[in-house]
């Protein structure tokens, strides 16, 4: 082992509203040396942060507020520490969500999360093709590669979009603003291409 040359320190937020074990395993496979934590001080000390989430935006946001991790995330975003939100973690980055009533999000990225407006089955479940611009998060990935999505809510038409997909209509598959990244799909469940996205984040 060459120490820091072969692994990169990443902090994974240990949210109860997430499948943390799966993401942890794949982040390690991507070369991350992980600290899994729900301590806001540990978040503030981080070099890189991953914010996972599944299920309810409202429950996830309540937990972030209760633990004060919300403020810690805003603070590290100001310092340009790289942050990656996954699925509901991605949705939490935006201004608000209409999941139940309107709930404020972290407000790190402009836009609003709302229910998929489509006649297609909701939740969307499956491998949807993602179109991206030249963002570094998608380095080495073929255009139109399918990633695994399972979601009822999305952000759409947001200014910081770096990838989109279609489900009845176009929605935001990934965003980036400065060092804040979000992906609506599950990279940890998207086989090789998903692993590549995580590796790109871990090593950027």
């Amino acid at each position: 082992m060459k120490g820091h040359d072969v692994v990169r320190p990443v902090t994974l937020i240990d949210s109860p509203v997430a499948n943390v074990a799966n993401i942890a395993r794949v982040l390690r496979a991507a070369g991350a040396s992980l600290e899994v934590t729900s301590d806001p001080l540990a978040v503030l000390r981080s070099k890189k942060v991953v914010l996972p989430g599944v299920g309810s935006f409202v429950a996830a946001m309540e937990w972030l507020r209760a633990t004060r991790i919300d403020d810690a995330l805003r603070e590290i975003a100001l310092r340009r520490t790289p942050l990656l939100g996954i699925c509901v973690g991605h949705q939490l980055l935006f201004d608000s969500s209409d999941e139940m009533t309107t709930t404020a999000g972290l407000g790190l990225i402009r836009g609003r999360v709302s229910r998929l407006a489509t006649s297609l089955p909701v939740p969307q479940i499956g491998w949807n093709r993602v179109r991206f611009n030249g963002a570094a998060l998608f380095d080495g990935i073929e255009p139109d590669t399918p990633f695994y999505f399972v979601n009822s809510f999305v952000a759409a038409d947001v200014p910081d979009e770096i990838a989109r997909a279609d489900y009845g209509r176009a929605f935001t598959a990934a965003v980036q603003k400065n060092n804040v990244y979000g992906v609506q799909f599950h990279p940890e469940k998207s086989s090789g291409p998903g692993l590549r996205v995580l590796r790109n984040f871990v090593w950027m």
Binding site: G55, L120, P121, P123, G126, P146, S152, D166, Y167
Partner: protein
Amino acid sequence: MDVIPSLDLLDGAVVRLRRGDFADRTVYGEPAAVLDMLDVPRGSRIHIVDLAGSRDGKPVALDVVRRLSSRGLRVQAGGGVRTEADVALWLDAGAERVVVGTVAAENPELLRRFPSDRIIPALDILDGGIRVAGWTQSASRSLTEVLRLVESTGATEILVTDISRDGVLGGPSFALYRQLAALTPLRIIASGGVTTRGDIVSLARLGNVSGCVVGRALLDRRISLDEARARAASPRAIPPRIIPCLDVRDGRVVKGVNFEGIRDAGDPVECAIRYEEEGADEIAVLDISATDRGHATALETVRGIAESIYIPLTVGGGVRTIDDFRALLRAGADRVAINTAAVRRPELIAECANEFGVQAVVVSCDARGRTVMIRGGKDPAGLDAVEWCRRAEELGAGEILLTSVDRDGTHFGFDIELLRAVTGAVRINVIASGGAGEPAHFAEAIESGGATAALAASLFHDRKLTIGAVKQYLANERIPVR
């Protein structure tokens, strides 16, 4: 693909005849009112069948067409067109196009007398041959002869009705339209058999179908025009998933026929890894252990699989409580299927959806015929499968895993009738399960059954078929795959 509302007209009203009997009719009302009820926007193509005209051999409902055309609808009218003068009458009444049936097959010369964009030749097909005169006789020319003649008139679109499917529950005749794609460059307006949203998607995927005529399904509000058109616009939105299932008992993969007669089929982790390599879109694990100890072992098995794959994992079997559900998620399952416990206490569905999100909740419905079965397919639950799936959706199920107990392990094919009944009744995704034996069965479950995923166990375990072979077959049939 355009979705074209179809109205059968008789005595100035929209009707439906039972078995073509003019005395036995359902009346839906005055045409303009019916079109308003169906939310048909101006500029839409609509298809008019003049029943009295067909009976009497001359156009009758000219006034109706005149009125509808003046409302900004693009009418294609048919029924009773025998001569050039009949076509002229419809066109004079404002029809954008005239549907020409029997004559098109018997006297294609008539087609040449009008601009090709004002005529739609209509072919009624039975067992590969053309029928004429109200389906009672075979045409004098073969299907390919007629197609060549129609092509030579400059026509670009034909209306095709597969008579053998008329009134059958199996849905539109996808095989016929696919066969026509190989025979002719003509675009097809498909007629007959559309009853579900899935039918619209499957027709749109074929590529050579430029329109589909929908009557009863719209009138009976089984689908809305708006929704049908939205579905037709994005038929390839997401590829259907192919899901190998590991039936696990006491830590080993096993497989039984009709839920019984179990035999060993290998190590679950090795199987799961192989399936991911073969291109599986997701892995399912069904714990069929009979004991608490067996279930505890299954948790270990799930953990082992979750740690070894990079694709989604759905787990079911023996989930009785919200704690069981949580334990499986913690072990690495992405989604959990509940079955008997949900039937016994349906609120469990809502509780799990609230706690873990609808995306995590799969309701597994085992059915014998249309009767819901519980306890691993052993006992009837006294519920209708369609009603139960609809209820499960209301309570918060994110997906239905629908297994035909009769077909399970038989390799005879999925139960398409059951699938159509459920996929036509719910709006969430449905996984087809039970009976897969060859690649065509997967295509059928997706295309005719309306399933958005299909699952098989023994077929893949026994290496009778690889996931790659199934996907290749689907791709050849123009069904999108990952």
